[in-house]
């Protein structure tokens, strides 16, 4: 590449075109507004908004979070403002941003996923839908949708039938073999996959002898999970043809590069936003620097460039 030329960071995740491969992960960036005083949001590849349900949801009782070695457990309980308030109060503001807005949705029945997808169909300012299949399925004894290939496929089909937006299925790592779920979502027609969601865990206070989270268990995130997440991304990239968005403990551009080298077309940054609100922008700058220093003209040359020989 020419010395001094600005590296091209544009990527395509199936039908979803991004100005760079760095997205803010759902549940760690609110509705974007929360970070707007600290981050130039137009620099981001995209924002995945906090998981949205049909109706507002209060969430779990506190304590909801606890720090663990190099990570944190959260049991927020999918608290969110609900579809109606999102469309009326948040989307008009988000629409004005020069960045991709991806709406993360979840339901407690397959029908609820469909209703959400239908409500977002044709709505201006939404670049894609990310389907959270990690929440409990009330029709199936509370087992998470995403732990069963057939149920994952049915949720994916339902969403695809009801919307015109690109559909990304966000996979749970709390399964025996994530590749079987990934393949099921692919066969059902998903445009892309994102992984991983948090790993289930717990922590106990030895003085009170109680769980540190009111919900007992929570989702582990942060750098503690990165090697696990990275390997799952590596595995899934090799078993599906659709693009994969990688996430799990990405703190800086070196972490992001590992996911890109493993074959992820884009990455999501989550817990790092809590530690350094500007983490996403710093990662984008770091990727540019890496490309320049390594004479790489496009970040796309990095994607899947892992050498295992």
């Amino acid at each position: 590449m020419m010395r001094g030329a600005i590296p091209d960071l544009k990527v395509e995740v199936g039908p979803l075109k991004l100005k760079n491969p760095v997205l803010a992960a759902s549940g760690t960036f609110g509705y974007g507004q929360e970070f707007s005083e600290l981050v130039d949001l137009s620099l981001l590849g995209g924002i995945v908004i906090k998981g949205l349900s049909l109706r507002p949801r209060a969430g779990n009782p506190p304590p909801r979070i606890v720090e663990t070695p190099c990570g944190m457990l959260n049991a927020i309980g999918l608290a969110n403002i609900g579809l109606e308030v999102f469309l009326k109060e948040k989307l008009p503001w988000l629409r004005e941003l020069d960045t991709a807005v991806i709406v993360n949705i979840y339901g407690h029945t397959i029908e609820e996923y469909g209703l959400l997808a239908a409500a977002l169909k044709g709505v201006d300012g939404i670049s894609a839908i990310e389907v959270n299949v990690s929440c409990p399925n009330v029709e199936c004894g509370g087992l998470a949708f995403g732990t069963d290939p057939d149920v994952t496929a049915r949720v994916t089909e339902e969403v695809l039938q009801r919307t015109d937006k690109p559909v990304v299925v966000k996979l749970s790592p709390n399964v025996t073999d994530i590749r079987s779920i990934a393949s099921a979502a692919e066969r059902a027609g998903a445009h892309a996959l994102s992984l991983i969601n948090t790993l289930t865990g717990m922590a106990i206070d030895i003085e009170t002898r109680k769980p540190k989270l009111a919900n007992i268990s929570g989702g582990l995130s942060g750098p503690a999970i990165r090697p696990v997440a990275l390997y799952m991304v590596y595995q899934v990239v090799r078993c599906v043809r659709i693009p994969v968005i990688g996430m799990g403990g990405i703190m800086d551009h070196r972490d992001a590069l590992q996911y890109l080298l493993a074959g992820a077309k884009a990455v999501q940054v989550g817990t790092a936003n809590f530690v350094r609100p500007q983490a996403t922008v710093e990662i984008i700058e770091g990727l540019k620097r890496y490309c320049t220093e390594n004479r790489v003209s496009s970040i796309r040359e990095i994607i899947g460039a892992l050498e295992t020989g």
């Binding site: 549940g27 760690t28 929360e34 750098p223």
Partner: protein, 262 residues
């Protein structure tokens, strides 16, 4: 709201396990109001991962913020060892602070332990003749020496659990005595401290009808209203709803919190 690396001007133990830290943060100092807080990254690296929230205890020289903390865990233990001249990332000012009382309104500040921090900042902005400041500690060794924190001498009523200094018993005893002395006049009460103390003051406020603002503590990941980790159940309405300590507080009207849920 600003996120900057701030230089540590001093970091000294002023009572048992209790430290006073000064940080050069002109933009945060210029915006900060009593009751607001900052999120501090104790050190770079992955462990501890999250920032820690600290009430702003004061502003000095117009450009420095002062925080007061007790060593309670890994984060504060590491913090206590950081020497002046080093830098730490400081994000703030965050949250909603105290609503100032009317000019002729009498106010009572009731602190428990480290709860004294935001109330010291508040007391500076209240007319000395109209405010009464009381603080409770476990024992005399924990008492924050006000001459080290405040430049102007500040009269404090002290209570200790073990009676080693001042009134023996909870600081709420002092509040009750003070209220009795005021007769029918009702002060505005500002409070911060352990949950048991806040609950007791909440009950007193409901019984006696004085307005009361309480500053709450919580685990927090972001301080920005994004992680939703610092939820506290609100008293309003039949449906279960939560406020966020970081965004809707940390200062709340005492009647707006469902104290029984805590």
């Amino acid at each position: 709201m600003i996120d900057r690396d701030a230089e540590i001007l001093f970091n000294k133990e002023i009572a048992r396990d209790t430290y006073l830290m000064g940080l050069r943060a002109p933009q945060i100092a210029a915006q900060a109001k009593p009751g607001q807080f900052v999120m501090i990254r104790v050190r770079p690296g992955m462990d501890p991962l999250l920032r820690r929230p600290f009430s702003i205890c004061g502003i000095t020289g117009g450009e420095n913020i002062v925080i007061l903390y007790r060593v309670v865990g890994m984060g504060t233990a590491l913090m206590s060892g950081v020497e002046e001249g080093n830098r730490m990332a400081v994000l703030g000012p965050l949250g909603r602070g105290f609503e100032m009382p009317g000019a002729d309104q009498a106010s009572v500040l009731v602190a428990g332990g480290m709860g004294v921090a935001p109330l010291i900042f508040l007391s500076r902005q209240l007319e000395p003749s109209s405010r009464t400041f009381m603080a409770g500690y476990g024992t005399a060794a924990e008492i924050v020496p006000m001459d080290q924190v405040a430049h102007d001498p500040m009269e404090l009523l002290i209570a200790t659990d073990d009676g080693s200094f001042g009134h023996k018993g909870p600081v709420t005893d002092l509040l009750e005595i003070h209220l009795a002395g005021m007769g029918r006049q009702l002060p505005t009460v500002f409070t911060c401290g352990p949950l048991a103390m806040l609950k007791r003051i909440g009950r007193l406020a409901a019984q006696r009808g004085f307005p009361c603002q309480a500053s709450l503590e919580s685990n927090m990941a972001c301080g920005l209203g994004a992680c939703l980790g610092c939820a506290v159940r609100s008293a309003s309405g039949r449906e279960r709803t939560y406020d966020l300590v970081c965004r809707d507080g940390p200062v709340f009207p005492v009647q707006s919190i469902d104290w029984e849920s805590l």
